[in-house]
C-alpha cells in the first residue's frame, strides 16, 4: 500500500428529499473538492449517497471540511460522514 491518495469517501444517509445532491455538492465545490464519482441507492427505507472525492487541491483540510459537512447534515436532517479512502480499502480489499 505504498501509493498515497488524497481521496475521501463521503456518505450521506437519511430520508430522501429534494436537493440532497445539490446541497452536498455545493459544500464540496465551495471547498475546492473535486467529486470523482457518485452513486446513490436505496437501502431499506434510507436514501444512501456515496461520493468519492479528491481533496488534493481543496482549500480546506479534512477536519474543516467535516465541520461544514456536519453543519449541512444538521440543516438537512441527514447524516453525512467523510473518511479517508484507505479506511475502506484496508477493510474490504486485501
Amino acid at each position: 500500500m505504498a501509493e498515497r491518495s488524497n481521496r475521501i469517501i463521503v456518505t450521506v444517509v437519511g430520508h430522501d428529499r429534494t436537493g440532497i445532491i445539490a446541497e452536498t455538492s455545493r459544500v464540496l465545490a465551495d471547498a475546492g473538492v473535486n467529486i470523482v464519482d457518485i452513486s446513490q441507492t436505496l437501502l431499506g427505507e434510507f436514501f444512501v449517497m456515496i461520493l468519492l472525492a479528491d481533496i488534493a487541491h481543496a482549500r480546506l483540510d479534512l477536519d474543516a471540511l467535516k465541520v461544514r459537512l456536519h453543519a449541512k447534515a444538521d440543516e438537512l436532517g441527514l447524516k453525512i460522514e467523510a473518511q479517508h479512502e484507505d479506511v475502506f480499502k484496508f477493510m474490504h480489499r486485501v
Binding site: L62, E81, H84, V87, F88, F90
Partner: protein, 456 residues
C-alpha cells in the same frame, strides 16, 4: 462506485461499525527502551528516563489525534511502555524505586498519555537485588503515581512457577490495596501478575517494552466487541460453524483498521511498526461487551454452563480472522474478560451467575486471566497468592499468557461495589473460598518447569 470498486453495502458496513458498534482502535502504544538510562544515582537515572520518554513520545498524542480525524476511526488511548524498570534501576544505589515511578508519571503527564507501563520485574526463576527493591516499592509507587502501571512475571512454561515470588505478591497486593484504601484500592488495578508475559503487549496494565524489542516501536491494540456482537446478533439461526465464520470475517475487518492505523502511525512518527494485538477489549459502555457476545450466542447469562465453550470458539475465531489481516500479530491477542470493564460481566457477577471458579475455567481458553476482579478486603494474602498460583499453573501448562489483576477492596465485603470510574470501570466484590491455602503457599520454592517445557 466502479472507480474504487466498493459496493454501497461495504461502505455502509464500515460507517455503521464505527458509528453504531463502537469500532475503535483501543490503543496506540509506543514502546521505548530505557536500557541506556541506568546510572549509579537513582535521581540521575530517573531524569534520563524522563528526558528520553519526552523526546521519543512528544509527537505521539498529536499523531494519534491526526490519524483519528483523518480516518474517522476513534483511537481511544495513546500509551507508552518501557523497559522493565528493575533492569534499568538496578545499577542505582538506594533502597526504593519510587522516584523512578514518579519520573515515569511525570513523563506520561508531559506527553499527554493516560498510562505508562513497565514498572516491572521478571522473576519467574528468581529475584535479583533490583527485582526485590522494585517489588518492595510497589505499594508506595502505585499510591503516589496516577498513570504508572506495574507488572511482575512470576512464572513461565520454560521456568515453572516461582512460588516464593507468588507468595510475596499476595502480601504486596494487600499492601497496595491498603496504600490506596481511600480510593477503593486502585493501586491493585494498576498491578498485573503474569505467567508467560509477552514483550510487545500494547494493553495496560500489563504492557512493558521487552528486552528483545528495538529502541522504539509502535504497537497497536484493536478493540471491537461491539462489531462482533452486532454480527452475532444478526445471525440467530446460524449454527456454530457458520457463526465462527461470521466472527472471523468481522475480526478480519476490525484488525485491518489496526493494521492501517499502525502503519500510518509508524510512518509519521518515524518509528518501526511492531505488532497488532488482536484482542477483543471490552469497555464499560453498553454494547461493547465480550460477555454480551457469549450471551448473543445463546447463553442466558455469562457464567452459566456453556460459557467456556462459547468463549473458546469466540477466542479462536477472533485469532483466525485477525491473523490473516495483519502482517505482524503479537501481544496477547484474544478475548479479554475483565470483570469491571465489561457491563455483561458486571451484571453476571452481581447476579451470582459468574463466580471466581467459573472465571478461572474461562481463562483456560482466552487471553488473559483473572482481570479486574474485586474480592473482600479481608482476603488473606495466602489466598491471593493461591489464586495467582492457580492462574499461573493454567498458563504454564497450556503454554499461554495468564495474569491476575485482583483488588482486595479495603473494608468491602461480597455484594459491595468498587468504583474506579473511566476505563477501569466498577466491579462487584466476588466471593473467595474461605478454606486456607496458607501452608501450601508457605512452602515456597519453585514448581518445576512442566514436561511441556522439554520440547527441544
Amino acid at each position: 462506485m466502479r472507480s474504487v470498486h466498493f459496493e454501497p453495502e461495504e461502505i455502509l458496513e464500515t460507517v455503521q461499525m464505527v458509528q453504531m458498534e463502537n469500532l475503535d482502535i483501543r490503543t496506540i502504544t509506543m514502546g521505548i527502551s530505557l536500557r541506556d538510562c541506568a546510572h549509579p544515582q537513582l535521581a540521575q537515572s530517573a531524569q534520563r528516563a524522563y528526558d528520553k520518554i519526552c523526546r521519543y513520545a512528544q509527537q505521539l498524542v498529536k499523531v494519534g489525534d491526526q490519524l483519528e480525524r483523518e480516518y474517522g476511526i476513534p483511537i481511544i488511548n495513546r500509551r507508552i511502555s518501557v523497559t522493565p524498570i528493575a533492569l534499568v534501576a538496578e545499577s542505582s544505589a538506594g533502597d526504593d524505586y519510587v522516584a523512578m515511578a514518579q519520573a515515569l508519571d511525570r513523563a506520561a503527564s508531559t506527553v499527554g498519555v493516560n498510562f505508562i507501563g513497565g514498572f516491572s520485574a521478571l522473576v519467574h526463576k528468581g529475584l535479583t537485588h533490583g527485582d526485590r527493591i522494585l517489588i518492595d516499592s510497589l505499594p508506595q509507587a502505585l499510591a503516589v503515581t496516577e498513570r504508572v502501571c506495574a507488572s511482575i512475571n512470576v512464572a513461565s512454561t520454560k521456568a515453572g512457577i516461582n512460588m516464593t515470588a507468588v507468595g510475596r505478591m499476595g502480601d504486596v497486593i494487600l499492601a497496595c490495596a491498603k496504600a490506596t484504601a481511600d480510593r477503593d484500592g486502585v493501586g491493585c488495578a494498576k498491578l498485573v501478575v503474569f505467567c508467560n508475559a509477552v514483550e510487545d503487549n500494547p494493553f495496560m496494565a500489563g504492557a512493558f517494552h521487552g528486552i528483545g524489542e528495538p529502541e522504539c516501536v509502535i504497537n497497536v491494540g484493536v478493540s471491537g466487541p461491539g462489531a462482533v456482537l452486532s454480527a452475532v446478533r444478526r445471525a440467530p439461526q446460524a449454527d456454530l460453524g457458520e457463526l465462527a465464520a461470521i466472527i472471523k470475517r468481522t475480526a478480519f475487518k476490525i484488525t485491518r483498521m489496526g493494521e492501517l492505523i499502525g502503519r500510518r502511525a509508524s510512518e509519521r512518527l518515524g518509528v518501526p511498526f511492531g505488532i497488532v494485538d488482536l484482542s477483543l477489549a471490552p469497555t464499560p459502555a453498553q454494547g461493547d461487551s465480550v460477555a454480551q457476545i457469549l450471551e448473543a450466542m445463546g447463553l442466558e447469562r455469562v457464567g452459566t454452563h456453556g460459557s467456556t465453550a462459547a468463549l473458546a470458539m469466540l477466542n479462536d475465531a477472533v485469532k483466525k480472522g485477525g491473523a490473516m489481516a495483519s502482517s505482524h500479530v503479537g501481544g496477547l491477542s484474544g478475548a479479554f474478560i475483565p470483570v469491571s470493564e465489561d457491563i455483561g460481566m458486571i451484571e453476571a457477577a452481581e447476579a451470582g451467575t459468574l463466580t471466581l471458579d467459573k472465571l478461572e475455567a474461562m481463562t483456560c481458553v482466552c487471553s488473559v486471566g483473572l482481570d479486574m476482579i474485586a474480592v473482600p478486603g479481608d482476603t488473606p494474602a495466602a489466598t491471593l497468592a493461591a489464586i495467582i498460583a492457580d492462574e499461573a499453573a493454567i498458563g504454564m501448562i497450556n503454554r499461554k499468557t495468564t495474569a491476575v489483576r485482583i483488588i482486595p477492596a479495603p473494608g468491602k465485603k461480597v455484594g459491595d461495589f468498587v468504583e474506579f470510574g473511566g476505563l477501569l470501570g466498577r466491579a462487584p466484590v466476588m466471593a473467595v473460598h474461605r478454606e486456607s491455602s496458607q501452608a501450601f503457599v508457605e512452602r515456597g520454592g519453585r514448581i518445576p518447569a512442566p514436561i511441556q517445557a522439554l520440547n527441544n
